[in-house]
């Protein structure tokens, strides 16, 4: 096992290459620039292609083109850049183009700032593109998990013919942690019989398109897509539980915020408070199950986010009225401290305002 110290962004980029990525299209934006920097240097060495597009809109549409000819493709950006890509993402989902899209989130709305944030949960799970579509969203909490999820994302993308989001943030992207790449086992990618590589006058032409003017055909097409989304929702929910069996208060948080919540759980446990943590690893599909299975001892779920409250909507849907759901959020690039979370939890456990 060879451990090396890497920034989350660099690890994502190397994992992409190990995961078989051959094409990257993107446009620079902080705090994700280490990803294109790394791939601009490394992709050409393996015969891959790196293109700095003229804009995020250009990049996402290049992704469409390269995916359509069967390449393993990705882009990465940060919040306002993802906002620009939304039309393209709807197209990718509708055309079922396998690709990976990384969002290293920063504070918003608008151009916002460049410090860590999780205010794109809605953007990542509800989408800003038009139409009925879903995109699987994987949320790593460590640099090592960034690696495993990057590889998993490419495999999911090919397996389900879908774009897949990696939901990172400025903290996870910029921090360094030990990481190893030894245990990556790649599955054989499925045959892409739909890819467009030229008919050469020996077979009928194939098309990939999303315009369907006949409502009956478009409805049938929608139902097909929905069936796929249901299949993903049934198979791909993932989460981590930490000390929840006897917990009276259960935190829930994802990504870098989950690390801070874990510190808060440890501090509360040291002081004799029974706290636990549910960390969604997939944001869509959202893991309802651990919330539905919470023991009767649990009195409150406390959702913590670096936003003004977005995932908390999904937590409330999962809990479905059975428990009070409290919220604590910081935003704009401000990062909550474990002490803030401990204070909030104690306040709740004393019957304080939720």
């Amino acid at each position: 096992m060879t451990m090396t110290l890497m920034k989350g962004n660099e690890a994502l980029a190397l994992a992409a290459i190990r995961g078989g990525c051959t094409h990257f299209f993107g446009y620079p934006i902080t705090p994700q620039n280490e990803i294109p920097e790394f791939l601009a240097r490394e992709l050409p060495k393996i015969g891959g292609v790196f293109i700095q597009a003229e804009s995020e809109i250009g990049a996402v549409n290049m992704l469409y083109g390269a995916a359509a000819v069967g390449c393993r493709v990705m882009t990465s950006s940060s919040s306002p850049g993802l906002a620009l890509m939304q039309e393209g993402i709807s197209l990718l989902a509708a055309a079922e183009m396998p690709c990976v899209i990384v969002n290293v989130m920063r504070g918003g709305p608008g151009i916002g700032g460049i410090q860590p944030s999780q205010a794109d949960y809605f953007q990542m799970t509800r989408g800003g593109g038009n139409g009925d579509y879903r995109v699987p969203a994987l949320a790593p909490a460590t640099v090592q998990e960034s690696v495993s999820m990057m590889v998993q994302a490419f495999e999911m993308a090919d397996c389900y013919r879908t774009p897949v989001f990696i939901v990172s943030d400025g903290m996870l992207g910029q921090m360094m942690e030990p990481v190893e790449f030894d245990n990556i086992e790649l599955k054989e990618p499925p045959e892409k019989e739909w890819k467009l590589t030229g008919h050469g006058n020996v077979r009928k032409p194939k098309t990939i398109k999303t315009l369907m003017l006949d409502p009956a055909r478009l409805e049938a097409r929608n139902f097909e897509l929905q069936e796929k989304f249901q299949k993903i929702a049934a198979a791909e929910c993932s989460w981590e539980e930490y000390l929840i069996d006897d917990a009276v208060l259960v935190f829930t948080a994802y990504g870098s915020t989950a690390r801070i919540a874990r510190n808060a759980v440890d501090q509360l446990r040291e002081e004799g408070f029974a706290a636990g943590l549910i960390r969604p690893r997939t944001l869509w599909p959202f893991p309802d199950k651990p919330f539905q299975q919470l023991a009767s001892r649990c009195q409150t779920v406390l959702c913590v986010e670096m936003s003004c409250g977005q995932m908390v909507d999904d937590v409330r849907l999962a809990v479905n009225g059975k428990l009070p759901v409290a919220f604590y959020g910081r935003c704009g690039g401000m990062i909550p401290s474990p002490e803030e979370l401990v204070a909030k939890a104690k306040n709740i456990m004393k019957g304080g305002r939720q």
Binding site: M3, T30, P31, Q115, M171, M175, M176, E177
Partner: protein, 189 residues
């Protein structure tokens, strides 16, 4: 049990990011759980720069140590003013006394004043001031082996490391030696 939360701060260009990375890498080579988190932003040479390092026997939660540092390694005056309050009671502050004449106000922390620039110049390159500070920290914390730090140096600096190694080991040793000479005992509160 090891749970070091170290804040390294100074001017951009003084090598505080590298200092933090060396510490992090060394901790990793010693088998600890580690994280390194930089301040990032529209930074420039001469602006302030800092990084957080956590080295622990347990998996690291928050990588940010701006409120609960067990130690601060401070290379310039603005950083002292900014981070003096970030160190926990009973913690340690290492001050680069070559650039910081101001006294540390805290009475509940150990203070080590290290003339890092002068000592680095003695070693042959004033740029090694960060390594002098690191040497001082290592001498006090005792959580890291010198072998791991040297190995970390090779990893962090790659090909440059070879010709720079002797100078930097000297700087580490100067820093360690300076600790004993310059310790300021905490005054009664």
């Amino acid at each position: 049990m090891c749970n070091e939360r170290v804040l390294c701060a100074g001017f951009g260009g003084q090598g505080v990011m590298s200092l933090g990375q060396l510490l992090t890498y060394a901790g990793m080579l010693d088998g600890k759980h580690v994280t390194w988190m930089p301040s990032y932003g529209p930074e420039m040479r001469g602006g302030t720069a800092y990084c957080s390092v956590v080295v622990s026997d347990n998996p690291v939660g928050s990588p940010i140590v701006t409120t609960n540092a067990t130690c601060a390694i401070i290379l310039n005056l603005p950083s002292l003013e900014k981070f003096e309050k970030s160190v926990v009671s009973g913690g340690a502050i290492f001050v680069n006394s070559s650039l910081i004449q101001k006294k540390v106000n805290r009475k509940d922390v150990r203070v080590y004043a290290i003339p890092a620039n002068e000592l680095a110049a003695v070693c042959g390159n004033p740029k090694a001031a960060n390594m002098v500070m690191l040497g001082a920290y290592l001498a006090v914390s005792k959580e890291f082996s010198l072998e791991s730090v040297i190995e970390a140096f090779k990893k962090v600096f790659g090909e440059k490391a070879g010709r720079m190694l002797d100078l930097n080991i000297r700087a580490l040793k100067e820093g360690a030696a300076a600790v004993n000479a310059t310790i300021e005992l905490p005054k009664a509160a």
